[in-house]
Assembly symmetry: C2
Homo-oligomer: 362 residues x 2
């Protein structure tokens, strides 16, 4: 989980995962090599394809190695199929190398479900963590927010949500450098519904615990982009829907914007004047900036890049893995989770289930 | 549920609900009166405030009446408090008038939770419907999509979801004029998680039923704004989070856009050229267009306007109520739900619980 004695951070790359593999994997690693000179990469995949790509980046080639395999997990492979038949795939071998201590982290742009299942099977969950979660960034008006779970668990217990809050806060601290992250629990705010039982119980527990951050209570969907909190905690069903709904809405606005600038000659001229400013806006809302989701809660750092990422996006995903190793993310979680679990078990029983507001009589 | 013998559609208005009541309620009714001359309005609220506002709209005044009450439900009243103490409130009296057959529909911009609870208590749910749902529009790349439940029920059974699909399809048909609405069930699409049991069972049932539309299967969060379907069905927790996340994302982009046009003199000049085009864009994404959420599944038409709506938005909410009455929305639902329930009960047991994909061995 730590960098090796020479200060090198060894990262295993699934060279065959993603829509544009292995090209963007090698080129992304070349960018990351410049940004993080301490990185040492091992490419898992088809040597015949990787070697010529690597030849174009001498510095990278000098510090990298290739482990050849002709097998790969396809984007549309079923999880069970990938687990059964993918034992010699580039994805699986890259994950194995973390388990075997040959690398500190693995990065893949491949099939999310297969990566999650393989990582969970090979690396196992950390002591004290019941379920791993998918954790990533969400752009906000103020910067970035960490959100989890984004799809690993469709249903969660209050204890899962508490674990997610702890891991999310340490993630925000490690990767975003937020000193005392503010943590919010995603809920519905309308008066008629006070939220599901699991969410309410989790809130009670979070209020009673000493967290690596400040629990500020419930947040609603529209609070996420306001940047009210640094960490948004929710179950994987809600988190996945919220993330994808936001992505869809952003794409819709981007499409509206394009067609607006093309809708008349005056608008086209307007764009010529404003294009420098819009270039900055595109940079600010660039999904590549937010690339790199972590499977938190596993005994090993496993980062998922978006399947459609380009080399810039893939380099950012490597950057996330690098930060997590460098700042000993998993060690921090282990220590904290142990403390939390002791305290949750020590809570008096009556704290655990708050009574719902009565809604019957009129 | 029907318009009266003279063809008039009588609509009860909670004149005191919303941030800008009673002004926008009266002015919104004046706009609606021109659009829908068959409407007859009764304003429930403070006569001393309503009379001078109404005096400015002679045609409206001639066809409207006022029922005075000095009481009102406040925006931050707790649901239980409003139910207990709001029996003479403008909201409650307006709802009562629908129950008593004095009006065909009620429209309020007041406290959502109180309105839902009061409407449910006074009007009751329709035979065959277990739970009412909040149903509204979502803007998409292709136009508008109907989505429900947006917050009435934090947890739903598969049967609730089936009812929502039926009611949503009839809503899309009635209000949007879609002949054979395409219905999608909101789910998470990643391979590792096939969705929650309730969603999977609902999908099986929907496939087996003869619906007032076409069930196309699962949709993900980013499919909503693509306009892949006319009706998106989900539980109230997920629906509320998705709607608010989309609202938050839209506001963030709108804020980014404003600051981009203000970020340099060139950009400001660009805006001058493009402003006519952007005026059209604002109109297309105007939330007022999508104002008017219906509490579907109640014995009576109860439409909720956004609390911050202006007169245009409120007139649109009245328009939704008018369409629902005119096209006998509730009668259509009654007939269809009866059929559906008979068929669901007749389904063979083995259809009901599909086995999840195994994910254990590797």
């Amino acid at each position: 989980m730590n960098n090796d004695s020479n200060g090198a951070v060894r990262i295993a790359l699934d060279a065959m995962g993603g829509d544009h593999a292995p090209k963007i994997v090698v080129n992304g690693a070349a960018i990351a090599q410049i940004r993080y000179p301490a990185c040492q990469f091992t490419f898992y995949g088809d040597e015949a394809q990787i070697t010529p790509l690597l030849a174009k980046h001498k510095d990278l080639a000098a510090r990298s190695s290739i482990v050849h395999t002709s097998e790969r997990v396809l984007a549309d492979d079923k999880v069970a199929h990938a687990l059964r038949n993918g034992r010699n795939s580039s994805m699986r071998l890259a994950i194995n190398s973390v388990h075997e201590g040959k690398a500190e982290a693995v990065v893949s742009a491949g099939n999310t479900g297969a990566l999650m299942a393989m990582a969970k099977f090979v690396l196992k969950t950390m002591p004290g963590i019941d379920r791993p979660a998918i954790c990533a960034f969400f752009p906000t008006l103020k910067g970035e927010t960490v959100m989890l779970d984004l799809g690993a668990n469709v249903e969660c217990t209050p204890e899962n949500l508490v674990d997610f809050a702890v891991m999310g806060a340490i993630f925000a601290n490690t990767v975003l450098g937020v000193h005392q992250p503010r943590i919010g629990l995603l809920n519905v705010g309308s008066e008629e519904i006070k939220g599901r039982d699991d969410v309410r119980v989790a809130a009670q527990e979070l209020r009673a615990l000493e967290l690596p951050g400040e629990f500020i209570g419930y947040v609603e969907g529209d609070d996420i982009t306001k940047g009210l909190v640094d960490v948004v905690v929710t179950d994987g069903f809600t988190g996945n829907v919220a993330l994808k709904t936001a992505e869809g809405t952003a794409k819709m606005y981007s499409s509206f914007l394009k067609s607006t600038f093309k809708s008349s000659w005056l608008a086209r001229i307007g764009y010529l004047f404003a294009q420098a400013a819009f270039k900055k806006l595109r940079k600010r809302t660039d999904p590549r900036t937010y690339n790199g989701a972590l499977f938190v809660g596993l005994k090993g750092v496993c980062v998922k890049s978006h399947g459609g990422a380009d080399e810039i996006g893939f380099a950012n995903a490597i950057g996330v893995a690098y930060d997590l190793v460098k700042y000993k993310f998993n060690d921090q979680i282990s220590a904290r989770v142990q403390l939390i679990h002791e305290k949750v078990l020590a809570l008096p029983a009556e704290v655990k289930v708050p009574a719902p507001e009565p809604i019957a009589a009129a």
